[in-house]
Subunit: 314 residues, 2 copies
């Protein structure tokens, strides 16, 4: 039984290197480049650990796990078009190298290719879960776009968006791994729920790193979310706990498009307690993720799932 995180990561990498190709060389190249640029493969690892926690050999579910990463890759390819981002994970975005036209089509083709393969190989409800998840991701992205620059967005609105745009795919990754392994209904729901809470905490950590990490660590410029006028969790908490002067600064940047105050906003977020408040929110969701795992019996995979979630607290 292989289930240490390092082993699973190697399995997934080997699968992508050796097995991934589509009928369209240009699309295959675009996808391979996104995969080669790195990433922690957290979604496929969640699938493999969920399958293992339900008693299956994770090596039998590599294809299913790979589809989870590929859904993520397809959304990243489209996100590059959407945001006109110049870099993604430190390499040129697909849209920059191949043009917007190819990026839209490559993402569409990849979604279609995934569903073509999933509908050919996996029984209900797995194809339905994956298409519902993609709908959730898009819905969440649209909600996030509409919330750009809206200083009234609160923590519950934020969590609703994070659940849809990020956590839904972690929830599906875990649930489908459990389903493919023949897990019982309680185990499937426990793992789905784990994935959902894990995903919310993961998105919160991503937001946190945007205001307090350095570019080399996160592979994109610090303060990138602020520059895009996103309502991130540290900003929402800083606004909630801050004074009128801080709200005024954010209004200048988000409503009057004055980017010159970005540094002041970053400094205030770092100093007014918003980072600790964000860490508390992350810890609360990690706790919920761990609590969700309670119905599962002990196993090495169970322990790895716990380690994956507590890793977000580092």
């Amino acid at each position: 039984m292989i289930e240490s995180q390092a082993d699973l990561h190697s399995l997934v990498e080997a699968f992508f290197s050796n097995s991934f190709s589509t009928d369209n060389p240009l699309i295959t190249e675009a996808v391979r480049r996104m995969l080669a640029a790195g990433g922690k493969r957290l979604r496929p690892r969640t699938t493999l650990l969920a399958a293992s926690a339900c008693g299956a050999d994770p090596r039998e579910h590599l294809h299913l796990a790979a589809f989870m990463e590929l859904i993520h890759v397809a959304t990243l390819i489209h996100d590059d078009v959407v945001d006109r981002a110049d870099t993604r994970r430190g390499v040129n975005a697909t849209a920059v190298d191949f043009g917007n036209k190819i990026s839209v089509l490559a993402g569409d083709y990849l979604f279609a290719w995934i569903f073509k393969n999933v509908t050919a190989s996996y029984p209900a409800p797995i194809p339905h879960i994956l298409s519902a998840t993609l709908a959730d991701i898009c819905d969440g992205e649209v909600l996030q776009l509409r919330a750009l620059g809206n200083l009234d967005v609160g923590v519950p609105d934020y969590i609703d968006v994070a659940r849809k745009k990020t956590a839904s795919l972690f929830a599906a990754s875990a649930a489908c791994g459990a389903l493919a392994a023949g897990g019982d209904a309680a185990s499937v729901e426990a793992l789905r729920s784990y994935g959902e809470y894990f995903g919310i905490a993961f998105q919160m950590l991503d937001d946190l790193l945007d205001v307090c990490a350095d570019e080399a660590t996160i592979g994109k410029p610090v303060g990138n979310d602020l520059a895009e006028h996103k309502m991130t969790i540290p900003l929402i908490l800083a606004l909630r706990d801050g004074n009128a002067n801080f709200s005024g600064l954010v209004e200048r940047m988000y409503k009057q498009d004055d980017a010159s105050v970005a540094g002041q906003i970053l400094t205030t977020i770092r100093e007014n307690g918003a980072l600790d408040a964000t860490r508390a929110q992350i810890a609360a969701h990690v706790d919920l993720a761990l609590g969700a795992l309670a119905p599962l019996g002990p196993s090495p995979a169970h322990a790895e799932l716990i380690a994956l979630a507590t890793g977000l607290l580092a």
Copy 2:
């Protein structure tokens, strides 16, 4: 039994007016606007006629038929992003009114919504056929993009692209209608094949109208395909049967980006026999479509399918 074309059109329109909505109001609005802009609803009509030709009541398959039009609408929404088109069917493109970001997400959401509903309601192999069809459409669009400005593209290459990008959805519309109606394997294949040949002829007619219709009829500027450096069937045939002087003109426009010769190219296509050669290609594919229907017994729906195909000869 309702199966005249006018009746089916009304049924489909009523379904879209009364029943279509998604959980996301902005996406619902974007889709409704595309639907309200018109269109002949040929894909859903093909589904309903195929179901009827296999002995079913078409009214029982309105949802399935609607999904075919919605796949088409989703590709149009993404095509607007891709081509930066300003108008589509005479109204503003989604991308113009809502922005590229929303257009990419609205198309993605619509694809996901369709698959979510199809996987919930229709047995194998219908979900698989639809996802394979979407992969074909994207593959065909990428092939077409790569063929832009390539004067060596011949009729077989053209037909390969048309089969994927346009005919695959007509083939799937007909095959899924037959499958949902419980048609036998021979009828399903007859109708799939009809849809494929119909779709190729339909794409050829679309190309023909671009060089010989007027803007009011086709809802977009005449010569639009030429302006995009597309290798259309009239152009391919005009090059095949034309002289070196004509090839030189096309090279000036397609390779040196000199749009001033567009009028001369259009005039030559209209005068060197390419329009008649295109009509002959359309007629040949209409004949193949009619031949494909041969295994089906006579029925009013069968007669309507014949009328739909011969209508491309008008």
